[in-house]
Subunit: 457 residues, 2 copies
């Protein structure tokens, strides 16, 4: 049986690592809807975006026809420090579940930022440096993106200013210190440092913040400083492009052993991990070369795919960003203080939204307590302590494996284990103490926010 020869961890050789990122939009018949100017509702032009984003990144953002972008050598060298990441065969989990399913996970937590976010952070920092900028600003939810960007900026000697969602800032005191180790400055958001922050604080004095607020602040900070641009860790097309390295490695590792997955599962906040993981598989699906079940998993407390509207909306709470067409709960939606800070975003990547609208992928939502049950179960069996975000995918992977046990089907399940939970011990503590909320927004609460969506056309 060749099956027996599959190791616990499949590592690609350095020379097998991807040399180009894959742009799934090139293979989409229905392209993602363009970003619109919030004033004119006309598609954003590169010139209009140039005050906010780096030039090279704008090209990547707007290009929906070029299938591959070469990865610059400096970025490939940096990737070599922590990539390829292992594709792990979850033998122990399979055994514990007593399932005929074959479970694999692509583990992106083996770097100091603790997550997949570094894949795009280093690319964005590289292009900022190439453009001769002084520094970048950004927001961070769980702190994974902020940490990744701090590392990347430190590597290229760029200044890094991070607005961190207040609830995460308070839950993760040590995250700030890691970013500081890498030389970044960190501000809890909303803050009185920006005009938009002041406005939000005045309107919602007790707010725990959201990614949407923090984005507004970071954009304002970038556009009001000389030599700075704004960078974002999710949602954007450019981010999905960089994150395609996850999927490309996963596919190369599977191909090496002749494995064809049946189900591919990823957690979804803004879509960075999911979009990256699925990209080459989705490409095959779009080109009619293969078929896969692809499942996005989101928190029940912030269910943009499963309960949101597919419409144009602001990417940020302060409404300073371009409009994007996406599944959204409304930019004024502030989710309950779920511990998966990285998934507390009101909208979803335009690319993934279009693919979902076209029926090319599924979506499901899971409750917080179920997620932590899966997280602890997985930690004990597979040894890795997962991030709450990643554990959304674990939950559904386990559920699918259990279904295989019932039906006797030997399905191959691949999921993205995006990061580690070392900085989430407050959340684990709440879970252990039975103090975890499973609050789910009511239809009225969602409607109150989606009713405020901007009217386009």
């Amino acid at each position: 049986m060749s099956e027996n020869k599959i190791p616990y961890k499949i590592y690609l050789e350095e020379q097998e690592m991807p040399k180009a990122w894959y742009n799934v939009r090139a293979d989409m018949k229905n392209k993602p809807a363009p970003l619109l100017n919030p004033g004119t509702h006309e598609p954003m032009k590169a010139e209009e975006l140039a005050g906010v984003f780096c030039e090279e990144l704008i090209k990547q953002e707007l290009d929906d026809t070029t299938p591959y972008f070469e990865i610059p050598e400096e970025i490939r060298d940096f990737y070599k420090m922590y990539r390829p990441s292992p594709l792990v065969r979850a033998y122990c989990l399979e055994k514990k579940l007593n399932t005929p399913a074959k479970i694999y996970y692509k583990f992106e937590g083996n770097n100091t930022s603790g997550s997949h976010k570094l894949n795009s952070a280093i690319a964005q920092a590289y292009y900022a440096k190439q453009q001769g900028l002084k520094g970048v600003t950004t927001e961070t939810g769980a702190g994974q993106w902020g940490t990744a960007l701090s590392m990347a900026c430190s590597y290229f000697d760029l200044d890094c200013k991070v607005y961190m969602v207040k609830v995460s800032y308070e839950q993760k005191p040590f995250r700030r210190e890691v970013m500081r180790t890498y030389g970044a400055s960190v501000t809890p958001s909303p803050s009185p440092e920006t005009e938009v922050g002041k406005k939000i604080l005045a309107e919602f004095p007790g707010t725990t913040g959201s990614l949407g607020c923090a984005i507004s602040e970071a954009v304002e900070a970038a556009t009001t400083r000389e030599g700075y641009r704004y960078v974002l860790g999710s949602v954007l097309n450019q981010v999905l492009l960089h994150q395609s390295v996850i999927g490309l490695e996963t596919k190369a590792a599977l191909d090496k052993y002749g494995i064809k997955p049946d189900i591919i599962i990823g957690c979804a906040g803004g879509g960075s991990n999911l979009g990256g993981l699925i990209s080459p598989f989705m490409g095959e699906k779009l080109r009619g070369e293969a078929d896969y079940r692809i499942i996005a998993v989101e928190p029940a407390s912030c269910p943009s795919f499963t309960r949101g509207k597919y419409a144009y909306d602001f990417c940020d709470t302060g409404m300073v960003c371009p409009l994007a067409k996406m599944y959204t709960l409304g930019s004024s939606f502030i989710p309950a203080a779920n511990h998966a800070g990285g998934l507390r975003y009101h909208g979803m990547s335009s690319t993934l939204s279009q693919l979902y609208a076209d029926g090319l992928m599924e979506a499901t939502s899971v409750k917080q307590t179920e997620v932590f049950e899966a997280a602890e179960y997985f930690a004990r069996v597979e040894g890795i302590l997962p991030a709450p975000e990643s554990s959304h995918a674990i939950r559904v992977a386990i559920d699918e494996a259990k279904k295989c046990k019932e039906t006797g089907e030997e399905k191959t399940i691949v999921f993205g284990l995006t990061g580690t939970g070392y900085f989430d011990m407050v959340a684990y503590e709440r879970f252990h103490d039975g103090e975890m909320s499973d609050y789910i927004p009511t239809d009225e609460e969602i409607k109150a926010c989606t009713d405020k969506l901007p009217v386009v056309e």
Copy 2:
């Protein structure tokens, strides 16, 4: 140049992983001095140790002639979940230092326990399970060993009771929660739970604890409970045996590329990492097949090799353990509250002590601030956030690489990067805020403790 072909990270294939541990004592002409019964001063017999340790582990502890012990298949399967660990070529560090030296590090932090400790934890838990025990007790300093043992016990469904040095318990609130995630109970030491803990608390009411105290408590807890034994994460011969997997993998990876190191560097607390890393290299040295400079690095605040006495001493503060001949500061020595909790031990492995006494290795000590400077420098260049313990080795590796820059020598330096610093952010914060102590014990303070060494023969 074949040099160009060396990847950033050398991973062994699963089938190249060691199938047996190497027992360096088998090749030593001067064997390590035996453990003595603290009452009779006669060498401890297996029967006498049976109340404290697991039977199979006692055999390993006392055997100084068998060169290889086969690794049981269950342990090899567990190893496959997180091993082989990468041997990393520090290209970025070399470039930043502008040194002709070639620097490699064996990175043991890529598992949830965050350190090399898991290598021995899983072995000890396995033998405890084989013996039909209910559970084990132990001490932990930095929390790395306790976390590793919690994971291992969870895997084999054993109860796990951890006494954690108080200063670490307070500095690392989230460590407790990780252990809890794996089902362990954690008590700050000294505690009023044990007789020896009560005694120490009465004598030193404000004590921040030490590994020596915590060992006494854990031993008492094991010997006063039915179905429990005590396990230890360092110092003992059995631990060095299990940790030889680090050195064996390192040597196999180097051999694969025809690399011969000149200098091998490891941090030294009780000796678990250093003893494991150097074992196969020391074996060659003992058999006259090769020569290497081997350097132990210890904190200046707890300098057992460099300022201790080579004599019989108690392994624990409470003097309930057998006597071991080792470089020691005296079992009553309580080091300053250094942040490298894992190196705050008064003595050193008997095996390493004998090798050091025989001039087969060197030792040096470094101050805390210098260590954190090296840690932050390394983090920014190589991306990995190192544990304070590991950073002792980084400090000396950097210093040796700088010497190569001066002399122009292209030396090959290998060091052990034992773990990650995710749970050490309080220490990093103190460092950033300039609040880090560099206290070094005076000669009088050390003499006061070594004067109390037990008189043997």
